[in-house]
Subunit: 623 residues, 2 copies
């Protein structure tokens, strides 16, 4: 064993011990060190008085909630849950026709990593992309209205955990798969794992005008697990890097069997070269998608050995290096793109695996950063002064170090077991270096107990000085895996939806509200306004609708209150139906009136002093 591999903690026992030590150490030692005067200044740092606004938006993934959580930083107040992969009656998401169709019958997703669209390597604040590890989808949230605008299903995938990350100008949104599966979503026994199971990277594009995804192509890779990825910047902007684990091809008990090798790989992919190859006709059609095999496109895909089972790999703001966080090795490894390019240029390959040339570790590695006792590095973030910040899952801390020198500058505890961290503008070519939020996995007794299962927790850390300062811990619903923090000046939401008289199904004048019957279909072209519903302007009771049992009913509702924040809800009592129309919006609710009787309709989203009176009736005459 060389020096590096000797230092790699072997297997599960070491980790369990490390966890135990870390918990005991940090839990007891650090609570005592707080004092009244530092709490006072901490309190002032995060207090945003009434009339002022937070400086940053934090966009956090909601994990298996399927949703996006929007926080203000530094107050850490949660501003909004934006529904993405899961229906949400609070906003009618998944109830109106459009969002119901977009969800396609799925009732949840596992949203791991948000990525804000970029221009020239900087967040541009237009869209946010989301992966669904649970059901193999990618989604886009329009940050002009904080609504999910498109969701696309990805074939051939086994959980796109290693996405989403965007290239420098959002040319591609990359989603590498976590679990190997047979291509074409076919069946094959686990004994055929090495032959039949595949890793896949989906390269998707997003049309900002049409607000629609396209799956440009996929790349078939060995049945390793792809954990995280990042896109290059500047000199490395044509490249994508991805970590792998389970290069052991374990098909059972991964806890032990996928932790055997001292080294796994980082895969480097040149998306420009792959794009050219696809244009030139490379690839095979698998389930309607162009699938590229590395054997067919030389010079585009390489592997670099890396300390065992790495989690994150992150490209430095200047684009010259990529840093792997070891997870099961106690160090960060800094790799040089320049050295990698040189080795590729010289075809200095150590071996080839699955048609992928493997570069030499020593040929690409620039330095190993190994702070004493810091265990379980998971993810790297950056400031504007050449420093990197690493979360240490096992020793529950954040380590600040200098990228150029490798010198460790400061360490601060995190409560507890941080996964990723997110720095202000931390994934861009120009980080802000003000705040870092550690996304912790275990809350222990940080907050009032809510039973056997606790919230997750986030630490707000001030990184503006030479030393880091832990400010506060904040609880959070399950489960942010990653977040991006963007300056408020880059987000410009609309105030209301534009009044568009040509919009399908919209009604803008009260006298135009009407009910049209076509066979057993009843179409209500209605209006929601403070503080009434108008379904039929010509009726004695304008806010009542009579249908026959079995009719198919379409409520096309337009909110004509063009006034910010005046959203109307629309619930039908006892019919399990609720949707909403935001100011200026038109939405359709479609259902079959299969139950006879009388069903109150009421506004479910508070809108005015007479909100309680904003109601009507659906009368369903028995057959």
């Amino acid at each position: 064993m060389n020096r590096t591999t000797a230092r790699i903690i072997s297997g599960v026992l070491g980790i369990a011990l490390g966890l135990l030590i870390a918990f005991v150490f940090f839990a007891d030692l650090n609570k005592g060190e707080e004092n009244a005067s530092s709490n006072k200044s901490k309190a002032e740092k995060v207090f945003v008085p009434y009339g002022e606004l937070d400086e940053y938006y934090m966009m956090a993934s909601g994990g298996h909630s399927g949703q996006l959580f929007v926080y203000g930083v530094p107050s850490m107040r949660k501003i909004r849950t934006v529904p993405v992969f899961t229906p949400d009656p609070a906003t009618g998401y998944g109830y109106d026709d459009k969002t119901k169709e977009m969800l396609g019958g799925y009732t949840w997703g596992d949203f791991h990593h948000p990525a804000i669209s970029e221009t020239a390597g900087d967040y541009d604040g237009e869209f946010l992309f989301a992966n669904d590890v649970g059901n193999n989808r990618v989604a886009a949230v329009d940050l002009s209205n904080f609504h999910t605008t498109d969701i696309m299903s990805l074939p051939n995938m086994g959980g796109p955990h290693a996405g989403v990350f965007v290239t420098e100008n959002t040319e591609y949104i990359a989603l590498p798969t976590r679990f190997a599966r047979p291509l074409g979503d076919e069946y094959a026994p686990l004994d055929k794992y090495e032959e039949e199971y595949k890793g896949v990277v989906s390269m998707t594009t997003f049309d900002r005008e049409k607000k629609k995804f396209d799956l440009a192509y996929q790349v078939v890779l060995p049945p390793w697990s792809y954990d995280l990825s990042d896109a290059g910047k500047k000199m490395s902007s044509d490249w994508i890097v991805m970590t792998t684990y389970n290069t052991e091809f374990a098909t059972t008990n991964q806890e032990i069997n996928a932790s055997q090798h001292d080294r796994d790989y980082i895969v480097m992919m040149n998306w420009k070269k792959l794009e050219e190859a696809v244009k030139a006709g490379a690839g095979n059609d698998i389930k309607g998608t162009t699938m590229i095999d590395p054997r067919d496109v030389k010079g585009a895909i390489f592997a670099v050995p890396v300390a065992k089972s790495p989690h994150g790999v992150d490209v430095t703001p200047d684009g010259t290096r990529f840093i792997a966080a070891g997870k099961l090795a106690p160090m960060m490894t800094v790799f040089s793109f320049e050295k990698a390019f040189e080795a590729i240029e010289k075809e200095n390959f150590k071996e080839e695996t699955f048609g992928i040339p493997v570069l030499g570790y020593e040929d690409v590695m620039e330095k190993e950063v190994d702070p004493p006792g810091a265990l379980g590095p998971l993810h790297t973030q950056f400031d504007d002064r050449g420093n990197a910040f690493n979360t240490m899952f096992i020793s529950s801390e954040v380590v600040k170090w200098n990228i150029e020198s490798g010198e460790v500058i400061d360490r601060t505890p995190s409560y507890f077991s941080p996964g990723h961290a997110s720095a202000t503008e931390g994934d861009t070519v120009s980080p802000d270096g003000k705040w870092l939020v550690a996304l912790n996995k275990i809350a222990k007794d940080n907050f009032l107990s809510v039973g056997p299962s606790h919230p997750e927790s986030m630490d707000l850390i001030d990184i503006s000085g030479e030393k880091m300062e832990h400010i506060m811990a904040v609880p959070v619903d399950p489960e942010p895996h990653y977040a991006q923090i963007i300056h408020r000046d880059k987000i410009n939401p609309i105030k209301v939806y534009e009044k568009d008289e040509d919009r399908e199904n919209s009604v803008w004048k009260q006298e135009d509200a009407r009910i049209e019957r076509k066979g057993n279909e009843v179409h209500i072209y209605g209006i929601a306004m403070r503080s009434k519903f108008i379904f039929d302007a010509s009726a004695e009771r304008q806010d009542a609708v009579s249908v026959k049992q079995g009719d198919k009913v379409f409520f096309h509702m337009t909110n004509i209150d063009l006034d910010q924040d005046i959203t109307h809800g629309f619930g039908i009592n006892d019919y399990n139906l609720n949707f909403e129309v935001q100011p200026g919006q038109t939405n359709t609710l479609e259902f079959t009136a299969d139950k006879a009787g009388v069903y109150p309709i009421y506004c479910t989203n508070f809108c005015s002093a007479l909100h309680q009176e904003m109601s009507g009736y659906l009368l369903v005459e028995p057959k």
Copy 2:
């Protein structure tokens, strides 16, 4: 017109004007009055440093999200979303067999008012009850584990908006209906409104041992809308009071038509007398429920006139008075139980309506409290020093006044349009008088914009001194209508589920994990533990399950990690399935394996350093 009615603002125009004035006035004037030194002390008041805990739990309804929101006070950090009426993949709620059955196919609810169980008029911290205005249900959350433990559907109801409130020892959880509907959920045209449509109060009981609801009886009332209610305390503990609106019997355009009368009613109901009558055999069976008609039970139900369209009615901590908040009248009316009892005793009735004796307003009213310019009182809360606090929806403020003298002591702005407010222990016989949270309906520009629809907002107000102090505004997802704030010492959650070897389907020893096939049913008796799944201890791959396409699959999973906060998730990739097992819990996931192929299974809730490796495979052989 007498003095009182002359002061009642007539109709919509006045309200609109009031709103306009209030918005302009408070929005511009009050932002300027903050200053650096008061912000400093405010910041310190709400900052809970790491290692300390909030003093109070705030249990807030989540409105049309259907869920319970748990906050810490004074930090106002949201600790937990407890799913109640809506499925929640973040916790697997609505996915495992038990919670799926409890939800009964409903995908949302409209949860308006939480009520913590009481003993001798004090919150006892054992259970929390919730109403569903959307789908006519009542739910109980077990505060020992913060899980919903029972949901009951209520027949004959049109949205139990005016509940839930509990009697002094939680003998009854009362739910009066908001919208009149024909009894038996039958059909009747709106022209038959006065004859065929009815208001109904559901009187439910809850067995704390069995953790189950029962619908004891219902009371049929006139087709008024019942808005809010409260239970008596001490001298008035046998009574329930409820506000009404739409005594006009409007069947359309309630905004105008339900705001015509200068007076609506407060209904007083003696639940002890009704209980006796039910025991004696009173009532008719309607849809399986004992329905009581006031005409058949004399001396139990009375009406008191009250200023038009009141919202809240709240019983003072000492139980001697009930206070109506006028909504469309600019004042609070204090009524005396003693005076009411005297009038009832003397049979001093002014008239009878629908068999209900109507008491004289002047005979029961004690005082009218009418702060100049304070418009739209909605709800009353209390401190421990004889004071009441009223939210003013239209003039956007909280008014503090002395109950005994009626004197107005202080007023503070609220940002904006507060609905209810909640004081620490504010609905009990012994409020704490420390904090008040105003639940605002409109956020305006309080927070970073998230598009056309904003979050709701909550104001934290320090009420410990003679003067109130507005501390901060906090955003919140739609939409808390009411909250109760309970001292942390009263909540005692369990740390893990007890290891119960007799529990059905549970498996505690690794070697007992097994798969049993019964025809086309496949039962997996499995274990989730750090950091692996064991489905079949005897198999070559213990974490793989093979079934045939079309098989009915039951994953009975036990989490054997008896360690607080170590929850395991269980997602099946591409199968739209996810549930969880909390430490010591056994849950069952049931589905039909209708898609052939290979589907990774993985832990969706972070559990350990090797969480990422906690996975397995479901193999579905094609037919």
